[in-house]
């Protein structure tokens, strides 16, 4: 046992005294070199059981009295020993021993403590100083371990945060990439169609140019003029510009619309990530909501109707990419809570306290025991591998770091409502109250 060994290493072998030894003899022993380190010497009975401790201080007190040595030098040491010494079993742990010793210790320290084995037999002496040194070493070692554990913990927490962020980023990018495929699909096809459809127009232009040339040329005879006329008419029929016009208009219009859609998604992606802006800036939270909605559209568009009631909000200082992450997390959670078709209601408003965003879904809701844990790290109701269980705990931390609050109410079968509140900056609040 490591505990026993800890005390064992403190133990010093000292030959115990018999109670019948006289004080003079014991005084001589105290002067011996091997006992110099001790404040006291142990006394045992014939069965090697500890009877008490004779302290150096007691003997000094006796010898300092006038004629003390003459009067009491021949008395047995048993008369002057401490009959209730500190006895510590070798079985006890270092901490317990320290506790026991410090509890019974009195100032000034005049004695050591006796170490006994499990059977109560005397084994050796321990000194208070050794015990304290051992304790100090142990505490220092514990501190080192704790500090290392703290460093490790911080590192792995940072890694987890990062991987959660990357996971949600990856999900988001994949979603938007797929979202791009629809406009990309018709834009690509339209451009190919435009090329095909406009091809005959070049033929028409060439035929008409030839006709014009013929008309301007006085040498051009009837036959070639008639031929040129016919060719131009044929090209015109083939190109059918009056029929084509409508198709081309439509194709150009749709193509431009598609390109705008693609641009909007790309801008949305950039806005969402905000990698190009400062950490903290004055932001309209409604922009964050719209940005998160754009990104989340992939998850929610085909089954969820989103109702927005966005009030006018003062701009507040925050890290928009983090707030976006929170809103996207809440949105995707809400969409996942909805089985089949459902509705998400997003409201935003401001009051004297701050800016508030409420997200309410009519999904499956949560029982109280789940609700109580949703902000805990690693808590997830999703199957293994589908959620890190960090999304909401990170959201909670982000909002908390902004000095805000995130609250939740839920009812099984009816839905869940999250309320994110961020405080107004002090300056804004002061301006208002003034």
């Amino acid at each position: 046992m490591t505990h026993a060994r800890a005390l064992q290493s403190l133990m010093r072998a000292v030959t115990p005294l018999a109670a019948s030894m006289n004080i003079n003899e014991v005084a001589d022993l105290f002067l011996a070199a091997e006992h110099r380190a001790f404040l006291s010497l142990p006394v045992v009975d014939e069965h090697n059981r500890p009877l008490g401790l004779v302290s150096r201080a007691t003997l000094q007190d006796i010898f300092m009295q006038r004629f003390g040595r003459d009067l009491r030098g021949r008395h047995p040491v048993g008369e002057v020993m401490n009959q209730a010494p500190l006895i510590v079993s070798l079985e006890t742990s270092l901490e317990q021993a320290a506790k026991q010793v410090t509890a019974q210790l009195q100032y000034p320290i005049t004695e050591d403590f006796i170490l006994i084995d499990a059977q109560g037999q005397y084994c050796g002496l321990g000194t208070v100083l050794d015990l304290l040194k051992a304790m100090e070493a142990r505490v220092a070692q514990r501190n080192r371990v704790l500090r290392q554990a703290l460093v490790d913990l911080k590192e792995s927490q940072a890694q987890l945060l990062q991987s959660e962020k990357m996971a949600s980023l990856g999900q988001m990018v994949a979603g938007v990439a797929h979202e791009l495929n629809t406009p990309l699909g018709y834009v690509k096809n339209n451009v190919q169609l435009l090329r095909e459809l406009s091809e005959p127009l070049f033929g028409l232009a060439a035929a008409q140019a030839r006709l014009g040339q013929c008309l301007n040329d006085p040498d051009c005879d009837e036959a070639s003029l008639a031929q040129a006329l016919q060719a131009a008419e044929q090209a015109r029929q083939q190109a059918a510009p009056e029929l084509l016009a409508e198709d081309l208009q439509q194709l150009y219009g749709d193509t431009l619309y598609g390109l705008e859609q693609i641009a909007e998604l790309v801008v949305g992606l950039k806005d969402f990530a905000r990698l190009d802006r400062a950490m903290s800036e004055e932001v309209d939270l409604n922009d964050c909501i719209r940005s998160a909605l754009l990104i989340a559209r992939n998850h929610i568009k085909d089954k969820v109707e989103v109702v927005q009631q966005l009030g006018e909000l003062p701009r507040i200082a925050c890290a928009p990419s983090q707030i976006n992450q929170v809103l996207l997390n809440l949105l995707t959670n809400a969409a996942q809570a909805i089985e089949g078709v459902g509705r998400i209601q997003i409201r935003s408003w401001a009051d004297t306290q701050g800016v508030h965003v409420s997200l309410q879904d009519n999904g499956r809701g949560m029982p109280p025991e789940v609700l109580a844990k949703i902000f805990d790290p690693f808590f997830t109701t999703k199957p293994v591998g589908q959620g890190t269980g960090l999304g909401l705990s990170i959201s909670y931390k982000i909002v908390q770091d902004h000095g805000g609050q995130i609250r939740v109410a839920s009812e099984p079968g009816r839905g869940t409502r999250f309320l994110v509140s961020l405080p107004l900056p002090a300056t804004v609040a002061m301006k208002r109250s003034a």
């Binding site: 979202e179 495929n181 629809t182 018709y186 439509q250």
Partner: protein
């Protein structure tokens, strides 16, 4: 061809529909619907040869639409056209919708035109309704070749064969599989994508070309939309069942395959409405070519 081939495109994005209509209006009678419910209604009212549907739509998913379309008009060839690589949707579209092709957005103009031409040809070729002869002689014994060592798969397939009086053939590797196919022939193939460390996809793709009547059920622990896409388009697989095997689903798939095999058996050769694409990967193309040679005898027997 007397009546023109009629193709119905369904997508919630009108611009996709306009673009497709403009591309194909010269070759086909093109119909478009942005509402899947109205598309189903049209399918009930008119004869439509080919149905091409988007996957993500507000009212219902494309896979759902295609599954319902199969009930309404089983002879209409069904094609999924999607911009999302969603494995569950693709599996549903195959297993319940029995899709002919799985196309992705943005699409290649030539490829799309080629696919629709193939589909149109097949659609026109199938003259009489298939369902009419469905119920007779369903107990005739079939041959089933199993290419999977897993006990779970064997248990379900074995039980199915015993119950239906079908013949169960097994092979431990591709060479044995070729031997079995050449010597015994098979109506249904149940295969993992890996057999004794070998990739079975080339064999599936070869069989789809050499023996379009063979129905392949793929059981696999792999979850890869791209791989599934190629198995649909290049191997015309009948079912894709993720491992671990879900018994009910597997049994249903086997039963459907047996029914289909018996229907085909009762029909002249040309009517089989399956046609696989040539694999796009060159190495796989070579592999399919060489396997095709080894399957010579099977082909001879089938043609005879």
């Amino acid at each position: 061809m007397s009546a023109p081939v009629r193709i119905l495109f369904v997508d919630d994005e009108e611009r996709i529909l306009r673009s497709l209509a403009l591309q194909f209006r010269r070759h086909y009678d093109v119909l478009t619907e942005s509402d899947p419910l109205r598309a189903l209604q049209r399918l009930r009212e008119e004869h439509i040869h080919v149905l091409v549907s988007d996957q993500r739509m507000p009212q219902m998913s494309g896979a759902q639409l295609l599954a319902e379309a199969r009930e309404i008009a089983p002879n209409t060839l069904r094609i999924l056209l999607t911009g999302y690589s969603d494995l569950d949707a693709a599996v549903e579209a195959l297993n319940n919708g029995g899709i002919f092709r799985y196309l992705t957005k943005p699409w290649d103009q030539q490829e799309m035109a080629f696919t629709l031409r193939q589909a149109a040809e097949l659609a026109v070729r199938q003259a009489q309704p298939l369902q009419a002869i469905a119920s007779e002689g369903l107990s005739a014994p079939l041959s089933l070749l199993l290419l999977d060592d897993e006990p779970d798969t064997l248990a379900v397939v074995g039980e199915f064969c015993v119950a239906g009086g079908h013949r169960l053939l097994r092979a431990r590797n591709l060479a044995e599989a070729m031997l079995q196919l050449n010597n015994e022939g098979a109506d249904i193939l149940v295969s993992d994508l890996k057999l004794a460390g070998e990739d079975t996809a080339p064999l599936l793709k070869t069989l789809a070309q050499a023996h379009p009547r063979l129905l392949s059920l793929v059981v696999t622990p792999f979850q890869d939309t791209q791989a599934l896409l190629r198995l649909v388009n290049e191997a015309q697989i009948f079912r894709y069942l993720p491992k671990p095997i879900r018994r009910g689903l597997f049994e249903k798939g086997l039963k459907a395959a047996a029914e289909q095999a018996l229907i085909w058996r009762a029909q002249p050769q040309q009517v089989v409405t399956r046609l696989a694409e040539v694999p796009r990967d060159e190495r796989e193309q070579e592999k399919v070519g060489s396997l095709m040679g080894m399957l010579g005898r099977l082909r001879e027997r089938l043609i005879a």
